[in-house]
C-alpha cells in the first residue's frame, strides 16, 4: 500500500525531495550572493586604483609600539607589528580571564556570605560595575590613575621600586649562565610533586588513608626551586631603575595603559562571573549540604567535594561566554593607547597602508580564532566536569 502511494506521488509532492530541493536552492543563492559581493569588491577596488593583497606585511612598518614582549623596533615589518599586537591582545585576555575568575569567585561567594556587611559590599560592587559601560570604566581607570599619581620628578620611591604617572618601575632580572640549573631544578620539583599526588591518590583508594599531597607539593616546588637557586650561586643580576631627566630609566616598567585596561576588563567581567558563581552554588540543593554534614564532613570538604563539582556544571557554559566577551572587549584598549590588535592593525597599519579590507579581515580572523579556541577549551572542560552517568 505505502509502496504504491510513493510511486504515485509526483516529484514535488514528496516531502524528502522538496526538503532537498529547498536546501539546494538556498545553498545556490548563498554562494551566488557571496560571489557577487566578492566580485564587486574586486572590481570596485580595481576601478578606484586601490592596491590589494597581503604583500604589505613584509614592508618596514616604521612606527613604534609602546609594549612589545618580543623584540620589535621601528625597522620591523608590518607582519612583525601584527605579531606584537596579537601577543599584546592575548596577554591582556589571558591575565584578564585569570583575574576576572578570581574576582568573580570571591565576589560570588561574598554575596552569599552570612556576614551582612560583606554580602552588601559584594552586591554594591556587582550592581555598580556591571551596569556602567566598559569604555567609560576604562577612561575612568586611565585618567583617574593618571590624576592620582605623582609626576616622575616626585616619584614615590620604595627601595628599588618607583611609582609615578609613567608606571611602576621595578628591577629587571637578567638571567646569567647558571640559570639553566634553576629551571631544571624547578621542573624536577614539579615532576616529583605530580608523582606524589598520584601516589597519594592511589594510596587513598587502596587504604582510605589521607595524605596532604597538595600542600606538600607546594612546599616541594617553592623550597626546592629556592634551594636550586642558591646552590647554582644565585645566577641572576638585576637591572635597577634610576631617575633621569624625564622619566625613570632602566628596570622593568608596568605602564598605566596596561594596568587601566586590565583593571577595567577584570573587574567588569568579574562582576558578571560573580553572579554566575552565585547562581551555580544556589542551584545545588541545600539538602546535599545537610546530608554531608550528617555524615560528619567538615564544611570545607563539603564545599570542595560535593557542592562545587555540581555547581560547576551550571557555571561553566555561561562562564565560557564571559571569557569570550572579555577577549573581544580587550579591543576597547585601543581608546586608551594600549597597543593591542585593533589599535596597531586597524589603526596605524590601516592608515599607513590603506589596506582596509586586508587589515580588517586579519583582525576578524584573529578574534574569530581566539574566541573559538577559548570556546573549544571550555567545551572540553565542560565535558570533563559534566555528570558521569553510570
Amino acid at each position: 500500500m505505502s509502496e504504491k502511494t510513493t510511486t504515485n506521488t509526483s516529484f514535488f509532492n514528496d516531502a524528502g525531495n522538496r526538503a532537498l530541493l529547498f536546501q539546494v536552492v538556498l545553498l545556490t543563492a548563498v554562494v551566488a550572493i557571496g560571489y557577487y559581493l566578492f566580485h564587486n569588491l574586486q572590481a570596485n577596488l580595481q576601478n578606484q586604483g586601490i592596491s590589494t593583497g597581503f604583500a604589505f606585511l613584509n614592508e618596514p612598518a616604521g612606527f613604534p609600539i609602546l609594549i612589545h614582549l618580543i623584540e620589535y623596533t621601528e625597522a620591523g615589518t608590518y607582519g612583525r607589528a601584527f605579531l606584537v599586537a596579537l601577543i599584546n591582545t592575548m596577554l591582556i585576555s589571558f591575565i584578564g580571564i585569570v583575574l576576572a575568575t578570581i574576582i568573580g569567585v570571591i565576589m560570588g561567594l561574598a554575596r552569599l556570605s552570612q556576614n551582612w556587611l560583606v554580602a552588601r559590599l559584594a552586591t554594591v560592587y556587582i550592581e555598580t560595575l556591571r551596569n556602567i559601560p566598559l569604555l567609560l570604566q576604562m577612561f575612568f581607570w586611565y585618567f583617574a590613575v593618571l590624576a592620582a599619581l605623582p609626576h616622575p620628578r616626585d616619584s614615590i620611591i620604595f627601595g628599588d621600586f618607583f611609582l609615578n604617572k609613567r608606571g611602576i618601575y621595578s628591577p629587571n632580572p637578567i638571567f646569567q649562565d647558571g640559570f639553566g640549573v634553576v629551571i631544571f631544578g624547578f621542573l624536577a620539583c614539579v615532576v616529583a610533586s605530580i608523582a606524589l599526588i598520584i601516589w597519594a591518590k592511589k594510596r587513598q583508594t587502596r587504604t582510605g588513608l589521607w595524605f596532604p599531597a597538595y600542600w606538600t607539593s607546594c612546599g616541594i616546588i617553592v623550597f626546592g626551586t629556592i634551594a636550586c637557586y642558591f646552590l647554582a650561586g644565585a645566577p641572576v643580576t638585576f637591572d635597577l631603575p634610576e631617575a633621569s631627566r624625564f622619566n625613570v630609566k632602566g628596570g622593568m616598567v608596568l605602564v598605566p595603559e596596561f594596568v587601566a585596561v586590565l583593571v577595567a576588563l577584570s573587574t567588569y567581567t568579574g562582576a558578571f562571573i560573580a553572579e554566575i558563581v552565585r547562581a551555580g552554588i544556589l542551584s545545588v540543593s541545600w539538602g546535599q549540604t545537610e546530608a554531608a554534614r550528617s555524615l560528619g564532613m567538615r564544611d570545607s570538604i563539603t564545599q570542595r567535594l560535593i557542592v562545587l563539582p555540581q555547581a560547576l556544571r551550571v557555571i561553566i557554559p555561561p562562564l565560557t561566554s564571559q571569557y569570550l566577551n572579555l577577549a573581544k572587549n580587550s579591543s576597547l584598549g585601543a581608546a586608551i593607547a594600549y597597543p593591542e590588535l585593533v589599535a596597531v592593525v586597524m589603526g596605524t597599519t590601516l592608515n599607513q597602508t590603506g589596506q582596509a579590507i586586508e587589515t580588517i579581515g586579519l583582525c576578524m580572523l584573529v578574534y574569530g580564532s581566539l574566541s573559538l579556541s577559548i570556546s573549544f577549551f571550555m567545551n572540553w572542560y565542560n565535558k570533563k566536569m559534566s555528570l558521569v552517568e553510570r
Binding site: 576601478n47 578606484q48 616604521g62 621601528e74 593618571l146 593607547a337 589603526g347 592608515n351 599607513q352
Partner: protein, 340 residues
C-alpha cells in the same frame, strides 16, 4: 569602538556599491542632490570646528564652502561629516563624502596607493613638539628619553619615529586613538611632549586649561602640506576643487577681496581681472560651471588672505603668523597658476 564600526560599515559599503567610484561624475551627483558632502575633522579650532550651535568654521570648512559657492553661487550648500584620522580615507573611497578637507598631509603613498587624488595645498604645515614650560626644555634635540603623546593614524606617528631614530634618541610612544584623548593624556602628565602639526599644536594649546604654561618648540621636523582630497579618476571634479583655491590665491594677489569684488567687477578695465571675475569671457564653462563662478567664490568666502586671517590669523584664538603661507610676492610659497 564607534569608529571601528564606522570603518566596517564603510568597508561593507565599498563592497556593496556597484562601481560608483571612478567613472561617475561627482559634479553631476552634487548638482543633482543640491549640496556637497564635506569630510572634516572632529574638531580642530581654526581648521574645522563646530561651535555650540553646530555651525562649522575653519580653513578646511571654507575650502568646501568655496567649492559650494563656485557650483551653486551659495557657500552654505555644504553638509559636514566629522571623521577621525583613521576613518577619513575609507569615507572618501566609499563615496560617503565628495571632498575630504580635514588637515590631511599630501604624501606619496597616500596619493599613489589609496585611490585618491590630492588637489592642492591650502596650508603648508610642519610637525612640531609642545612641552610644559616648567620642564626646562628649549629645543627638540634635548628630548632624549622623553615620553611622547600623539594621535593614532596620522603621518605624525611615523615622523616622530623617524625623528628620534635619526638622532639616535630614546623615547616612549603613547599613541591614542583620538586627538582629544591624546591631549588629555598629555594634560594629565602621562607624557612630557605632545606632537602633531604645528598648526594643530597651536589649536590644541588654545584648548588647554592654562595655555601659557605650555610652549611649542622652535624645530619643525617634517613637511606637512595640507589640502583637500578627492577620489582618483574624476578629473573634472579634481580641477574644480583645485582651481577654486587657485582663484582665491590669485584674488589676493590682485587685491580683490569679498569687500571690493562687486565694485571691481563693475569698474575694472584690467583684462586679467575682468576675466577672473567673469565680466569678460566664459571661464567657468570649461569646468562645467557658470561664468561668475570665481566671482561667487570671492564674494561668498573671500580671498585666501581673508580666509587665513578669519580662521587662524594672529587676531584669532589660534594665533598663527602667515609665515610660509603667504603669497610668493610677500616671501611665502603660495603661487597659483594664472586664470587665463
Amino acid at each position: 569602538m564607534k569608529s571601528n564600526v564606522g570603518k566596517i560599515l564603510s568597508t561593507a559599503a565599498i563592497a556593496a556599491t556597484i562601481s560608483t567610484g571612478a567613472a561617475a561624475a561627482t559634479l553631476d551627483d552634487v548638482k543633482a542632490k543640491g549640496f556637497i558632502q564635506c569630510g572634516v575633522s572632529t574638531g580642530v579650532p581654526g581648521f574645522s570646528n563646530a561651535d555650540s550651535t553646530g555651525k562649522w568654521s575653519g580653513i578646511d570648512v571654507d575650502a568646501c564652502r568655496a567649492v559650494s559657492a563656485a557650483i551653486f553661487g551659495d557657500a552654505d550648500k555644504v553638509k559636514y561629516t566629522p571623521l577621525s584620522a583613521k576613518e577619513r580615507f575609507t569615507a572618501l573611497q566609499s563615496g560617503e563624502i565628495d571632498i575630504l578637507s580635514r588637515n590631511t598631509t599630501w604624501t606619496y603613498t597616500r596619493d599613489a596607493s589609496l585611490g585618491l587624488d590630492f588637489t592642492t595645498t591650502n596650508f603648508y604645515d610642519g610637525q612640531g613638539f609642545m612641552v610644559r614650560k616648567d620642564l626646562g626644555v628649549e629645543k627638540a634635540m634635548e628630548l632624549d628619553g622623553a615620553t611622547v603623546c600623539t594621535e593614532q593614524g596620522t603621518t605624525t606617528e611615523l615622523n616622530m619615529a623617524d625623528f628620534f631614530r635619526k638622532h639616535n634618541m630614546d623615547y616612549v610612544p603613547v599613541v591614542v586613538q583620538k586627538a582629544d584623548e591624546a591631549l588629555s593624556a598629555y594634560a594629565s602628565g602621562r607624557c612630557d611632549v605632545y606632537t602633531t602639526d604645528k598648526s594643530g599644536l597651536a589649536a590644541h594649546r588654545s584648548k588647554l586649561s592654562d595655555p601659557s604654561a605650555h610652549m611649542i618648540l622652535p624645530e619643525t621636523i617634517s613637511k606637512e602640506p595640507l589640502g583637500p582630497v578627492v577620489r582618483h579618476g574624476d578629473n573634472q571634479w579634481k580641477d574644480i576643487v583645485t582651481w577654486t583655491l587657485f582663484v582665491q590665491i590669485n584674488a589676493e594677489e590682485m587685491g580683490i577681496s569679498s569687500k571690493n569684488v562687486a565694485k571691481i567687477k563693475a569698474e575694472s578695465t584690467d583684462p586679467g581681472i575682468r576675466r577672473l571675475v567673469g565680466a569678460e569671457g566664459k571661464m567657468g564653462e570649461a569646468l562645467g560651471l557658470s561664468s561668475d563662478w570665481a566671482y561667487n567664490i570671492i564674494a561668498e568666502v573671500g580671498n585666501y588672505g581673508e580666509v587665513f586671517e578669519r580662521n587662524v590669523g594672529p587676531d584669532t584664538r589660534v594665533g598663527l603668523p602667515r609665515g610660509v603661507n603667504n603669497l610668493w610676492t610677500e616671501g611665502g610659497v603660495l603661487y597659483a597658476p594664472p586664470v587665463r
